[in-house]
């Protein structure tokens, strides 16, 4: 591990066919103990990246270390719990027997099975066959299997996919609980709301490239001010004299690219100039705005 990075990739690439470059020179670094959101539109290369980190796919070029080991090595897998794409288990076995199978593969103690079943709140249905499970129960069994090894790192690929709102909330709570235990979580998703509520840091992947990385606040960047004032022409003149860097007006509402700390000064000068101010508040750039900006231009621009 370098500088406490649990996951570190260097120029990681995967080409499926001659003309399909799913992941292109990815440089990803996930720190120990954080919940890292791996965000991107469908087909951006998220699952391919997670498959490479789990050792399921061999990279075309580049390299990666996962908990200090090459992906897919038994030493690395011993510290990694992963649920990549849809949770896949033996339909003819019960949830508990499926975990027994996985525990045998990992040499996990049998007592861990009941622990993780309780952790994901599946004890009551553990004796029923996997094929009878709802989507939410399958997802929870997938998380339970990933937790069996008591792993340092958890890789979860779209864990709330297909869940109803209640199931989504439960899964988010579960993930935050897992993170509180000191584990590192790499969470892939295309749901901005999920990432915003769950993750400490976020990386945005578009067309196989990591186009932005940082905390949610860092990605949003500095906000501006929203102002509603009349008469509009006089307000525009005053704002020009104040040196607002960018002033956009739509339906009598000004969007100002200025430091929100200047709100009081701007308000006073407008009032002194005879402008009626009916609204003045800080504007917030949502993660959705950032995401759309990043993905609209195919990853060429930076947030």
């Amino acid at each position: 591990m370098t500088d406490n990075y649990v996951i570190e990739t260097r120029g990681l690439s995967k080409r499926y066919a001659r003309d399909v470059l799913a992941v292109d020179g990815l440089e990803l670094r996930v720190r120990q103990g954080e919940v890292y959101g791996f965000l991107g539109p469908n087909g951006a290369g998220k699952t391919t990246t997670l498959r490479m980190l789990s050792g399921l796919l061999h990279p075309t070029s580049g390299s990666a270390t996962v908990v200090g080991q090459p992906p897919g090595s038994p030493a690395g897998l011993a510290k990694l719990g992963a649920m990549v794409e849809t949770p896949a288990f033996y339909p003819y076995l019960s949830g508990r027997d499926n975990l027994r199978v996985m525990a045998r593969y990992t040499r996990a103690a049998a007592s861990r099975i009941e622990t993780v079943l309780q952790q994901v709140d599946l004890s009551d249905r553990a004796r029923h066959k996997f094929k009878t499970y709802s989507t939410g129960m399958k997802q929870r069994l997938g998380v339970a299997a990933a937790l069996l090894k008591d792993p340092e790192l958890l890789i979860l690929d779209e864990p709330t996919s297909g869940l109803d709102p209640q199931g989504t909330v439960e899964m988010r709570t579960l993930i935050r609980g897992i993170a509180r235990e000191g584990r590192t979580v790499l969470l892939s998703s295309h749901l901005l709301n999920e990432v915003e509520q769950t993750c400490d840091r976020v990386g945005v992947i578009v067309k196989g490239h990591l186009v932005a990385e940082g905390t949610i606040d860092e990605l949003r960047g500095r906000g501006g001010l929203i102002l509603r004032a009349s008469p509009v022409d006089r307000a525009r003149t005053v704002l020009g004299q104040l040196g607002a860097a960018s002033v956009q007006v739509k339906d009598g509402r000004f969007t100002l690219d200025v430091d929100p700390a200047q709100a009081a000064v701007i308000n006073r000068r407008l009032v002194e100039a005879g402008v009626d101010v009916s609204e003045l508040r800080e504007s917030e750039r949502s993660l959705e705005d950032v995401f759309l900006q990043l993905t609209e231009d195919g990853g060429r621009g930076k947030a």
Binding site: Y16, T47, R51, S54, G55, L56, L57, H58, G72, S73, P74, L77, A78, L80, G81, A82, V84, E85, T86, P87, A88, F89, Y90, P91, Y92, L93, D97, R100, V101, M102, R104, Y105, T106, R107, A145, K149
Partner: protein, 282 residues
């Protein structure tokens, strides 16, 4: 690999399809090779014709012929059943996508498939044992019913026959396992395997087996090897013949054993190579 073996044993034991397959093989052996033959030879239907009289043919079902009787079902239904079992063990992992679940557990790919191979070897060993025990029990019962003296083959012959039967079942199990890994589809692996066993080896072998070029090719196929091995355990008396390949064996028993051994190793090597190197989920 022990961890993988324990995991695979649990999966195989809990899978109903495996028990049904063994049940089919066992029923085939007992009902067709013992009960039905006994009644046919005991009460020959009108028009029954054979160079060997039924009173001699009936000895097929008695204990002295346990080895050739068991071996005679292995080249056909035995091969099919074990091929399906081998194919299910690997192809289903792809069909259910459980291959990616088990590959992100602790063992490496070699250990995962290694556990599967050992489990299949043990399964074919147990199936062989069950077939021999069932055949011995059925033959002893029928000999008792017929008022004949029960005389099992010599222990050394039983050991040789048991080993040959295990090898035959092992080869077809390994073929199914390999087809499952290569095709990653249960239907394709089973369909392709059964087509090979019943069309390529059996039908073409019987229809075109005497054609010069084809005859030479057939000598290298597993079905021919099984026939060669089977013929080294003749029925008693030797006038009785119910070989799996029809007609005399094209190769000797020794060459048959070597051919089967080579196929077994080749199937294992191919499976390990493909399973270790190929991307999962690509």
């Amino acid at each position: 690999m022990i961890a993988s073996l324990r995991a695979d044993t649990l999966k195989a034991r809990k899978r109903t399809a495996n028990w049904i397959l063994v049940g089919i093989l066992l029923a085939w052996l007992i009902l067709l090779s013992y009960v039905l033959d006994y009644f046919i030879f005991k009460h020959p239907p009108p028009g029954f014709r054979s160079e060997v009289p039924p009173s001699v043919l009936i000895r097929i079902v008695f204990p002295e012929n346990v080895i050739p009787t068991v071996l005679s079902v292995l080249g056909t239904i035995g091969a099919a059943v074990m091929l399906i079992m081998g194919a299910l063990s690997t192809a289903s992992e792809y069909g259910w996508s459980t291959v990616q679940t088990i590959l992100v557990q602790k063992p490496g790919r070699g250990a995962v498939l290694g556990g599967k191979i050992v489990n299949l070897a043990l399964t074919s060993l147990i199936v062989t044992l069950v077939l021999f025990l069932a055949a011995a029990a059925a033959s002893l019962v029928l000999a008792g019913v017929d008022g004949r003296a029960a005389q099992l083959p010599a222990a050394s012959d039983l050991v040789r026959g048991f080993g040959a039967a295990w090898l035959v079942l092992g080869v077809y199990t390994a073929l199914g396992m390999t087809l499952g890994v290569v095709f990653r589809s249960t239907a394709a692996a089973i369909g392709g395997g059964l087509t090979y066993v019943f069309v390529v080896e059996t039908v073409i072998g019987r229809l075109l087996g005497n054609t010069g070029g084809i005859k030479e090719i057939l000598k290298f196929l597993p079905g021919t090897a099984v026939h060669g091995v089977t013929e080294t355990f003749p029925f008693s008396p030797t006038a009785i013949s119910r070989g799996s390949g029809g007609g005399p064996a094209l190769i000797s028993g020794t060459r048959g054993l070597i051919t089967l051994g080579v196929y077994l190793l080749a199937f294992i090597a191919i499976s390990l190579l493909v399973f270790s190197r190929r991307d999962v989920g690509a």
